[in-house]
Symmetry: C2
């Protein structure tokens, strides 16, 4: 047997118990709110056919797909000549499956496959890991969870307002109050493209201004110049993007600036309508900010786009989404519009840890540890464990007959609030000795009284 | 844009809402019981280094690993000569990661990596998918969930009794009463090997008799003969395995038969002790059956082994496990014994569906659908949705202004028990019309009364 130094692949993580409890708190909060809004659960496999995955995330996204080697002799259909052509040509001959890159494309694939059984509009949520062969760095992993909510089969802007309401409610429940939900519309970006004299370059424009926060105006300008934008059009672009004020002020200024553009005018009208709906739907304040410079990288968005940022946290966005009018058509189902949002649970976690927003978690750990005095008392200890569990308590038993001190120390390290000590005297008198680990206080009483004591004296 | 017929890889599945609700019911039941026994949650990545995965599952298992192609130019370190040597030689040069095959080996890897932070004995549960490039067939998938509970760092047989108790409690809660928990001990199999004159062939013996139920005695005999067992030893083997009666009868007969074998005697003593513990720990009856022919395929088991079967269901086992004394030593942590159990949730699901053990699920779907009368009433409808959600109801709004009949039909298809109709009259009178979808009955009242009606009249 060869001993090896154990390691996990870079960009992946183990989640030990302390982290799991906190992650589950976030996931449960998100899940409950998704359910309260009528989204239904869906899960799709980690594995997808390469043909489903490629072509939806842009060239850069395709590069980041994890590919699975075909099983068995993957070289059986490969010629020498294939290998001479390099790895890109070889790839489709040795791999036909990959790991999913997001939850939206598999969702579109599911909808297209099950179109006859689905009642539209179809609202689903999906909480699963996705994989990207990205360069791991602070807050960016190769395997991470997404939490998506989408509705497909309705063009109504009420769906967008629902998403605003959803985001607001979830973040409020998690205690994250100092956030901004940025919104824009791809038609407004198309309008800006028209207005600056580059109507056919909206895709390039989106990719460039998506980097604005990261690399700054100067570098974006240079990138746009390299892509054929004139200096005049770039100047005009930043004049438009610099428009400031309240949402209503920005909307009315842009309405003037883009009044000659049909898509621009339509996009602004849509944003106005979404805000009006949200004003009547969101519980409490909503922190939506119209931001004409928001672009989002993904190529499949066609309408409203969203992004959530937490103020004063250098962590990028904690979620994003948008409307896609044509995602299912690549799977043979045209004319079905959808809109959705995705939380990045890892970044939500990091923000909550930094801002100390996690409540104290106690109940997930055992309420009481039953210790074993010596070999003669084991059977009695097991019977006590059985009775305590019958009454619904979360109980563990220390399995080895080691010194009591070591057993108490184990309870202490695991933050178990109570320990039951059960020696020959206690057994003879039909009593249990209960030690409160926080106070050190010990009392002896019968089993039912012990259960009551544990249930009533939950350490805070 | 090229239209493609959407499909998922063979052996994988989508879980739509109706299935998800049932799966979650099973997973939540298992999870809660694991927690009540003091197991703590753990998750490990889907991706593991190939070096961690290989060598633990036998040759056959290694063949079934899904391997991930290295990112970027995976041919950069490959010579022409490597390719001539065939795919097995090429494999390690183009792939250094794979998908996990079970949850036990990654758990052992985690324990070895975190040995200094872990409080032993360490009890963890883990509910995650695993992947096997197996030939898909009825009840066997390439991507499926395992639900594991393990304790590591104690040799106490109380741990085995806890697992018996755990299995019993979970299956009782799920309503699966007609099951058998088969148990054996690898030392008893070693004893049988000794007794039949093949002490060095216990591993071969395990692999062969593991197939007994599937392929029958004759084929197993032929396999053993081919592996060098004498006809005498095979005859003797089946004499021993045919011993029948109650657990105590089989134990005492085998004690006679294996009395000359040290491991055999020790294994029988261990089983006896585990049963004595379980008698005092399990709530209600326990359905443990000592079965000397139970072998389990996996090579890392060294002590007690478990397998759960449901009677009269031709579905194989719904779970299994055992003790492993040396699993962490390949990761540099010797001398740490562990024991665990794993439920196969897909098979549990199939059994429950066949036996109609699922309760009716209602609460996961919306309690009420708010309809939209026309464009002039949208804002009012949104306000009603907001108020209902504030009061904790699960509410969805039909987003489009289509005919009321179509909206009612949507509620009917989704089994939403109530619909709110909100026309100009209702708005003028500050009333809501509530339609009970089961009875067709309609009433009009104010919002608070409506909430009370919905909460009190949950259709059964």
């Amino acid at each position: 047997m060869v001993t090896q130094k154990p390691a996990i692949p870079k960009g992946t993580r183990d989640f030990g118990p302390a982290i799991m409890v906190r992650r589950n708190y976030i996931l449960e909060t998100i899940k409950k709110t998704y359910q309260q809004f009528g989204y239904l659960p869906l899960e799709t496999p980690a594995l997808e056919n390469i043909s489903v995955l490629t072509g939806n995330y842009g060239d850069e996204g395709d590069q980041l797909l994890f590919k699975i080697l075909n099983s068995g002799d993957f070289l059986s259909k490969v010629d020498k000549a294939d290998i001479d052509q390099g790895y890109k040509k070889l790839l489709p001959k040795i791999s036909n499956k990959g790991l999913k890159y997001d939850l939206t494309v598999p969702f579109a694939r599911f909808v297209a496959m099950n179109r006859h059984e689905i009642n539209f509009p179809f609202k689903r949520y999906q909480i699963q890991p996705v994989w990207r062969a990205d360069n791991p760095q602070m807050g960016r992993y190769r395997e991470f969870y997404q939490c998506d909510a989408d509705v497909i089969g309705s063009e109504s802007l009420i769906c967008e307002a629902e998403i605003i309401s959803l985001i607001n409610q979830i973040l409020n429940q998690l205690g994250i109050h100092d956030f901004i939900l940025k919104m824009n519309h791809r038609s407004i970006l198309a309008g800006i493209s028209e207005e600056i004299g580059a109507p056919d370059k909206v895709a390039v424009l989106c990719v460039a201004i998506d980097k604005l926060e990261k690399i700054g105006q100067e570098k974006v300008s240079r990138e746009l110049e390299a892509k054929g934008f004139t200096p005049n059009s770039i100047t005009r672009l930043f004049e438009i993007l610099e428009v400031s004020g309240t949402n209503q002020e920005i909307l009315s200024k842009l309405s003037q600036l883009l009044k000659k553009s049909t898509p621009g005018t339509e996009g602004l009208k849509a944003i106005q309508q979404i805000f009006a709906y949200a004003d009547n739907l969101v519980i409490g304040d909503h922190r939506v900010q119209f931001d004409p410079s928001l672009a989002r990288g993904l190529s499949y968005y066609t309408g409203a786009i969203f992004e959530v940022q937490v103020n004063n946290q250098e962590i990028g966005s904690i979620g994003g989404g948008g409307r896609y009018d044509d995602l299912t058509s690549i799977f043979g189902l045209p004319g079905v519009s959808g809109v959705g949002f995705s939380f990045g649970v890892d970044r939500v976690y990091d923000v909550m840890e930094k801002l100390q927003l996690f409540p104290e978690f106690q109940n997930t750990q055992s309420q009481v540890l039953v210790t074993i005095f010596d070999d003669t008392t084991v059977i009695h200890a097991l019977q006590i464990v059985r009775e305590l569990r019958k009454q619904g308590l979360t109980v563990e038993i220390f399995p080895d007959t080691v010194k009591l001190k070591k057993q108490l120390n184990h309870a202490h390290k695991k933050s178990i609030p109570f320990v039951i000590i059960l020696g020959p005297d206690e057994i003879a008198n039909n009593q249990l000795t209960l030690k409160n680990m926080a106070t050190g206080h010990q009392t002896s009483q019968d089993l039912n009284t012990t259960v009551n004591l544990i249930n009533s004296t939950q350490s805070k």
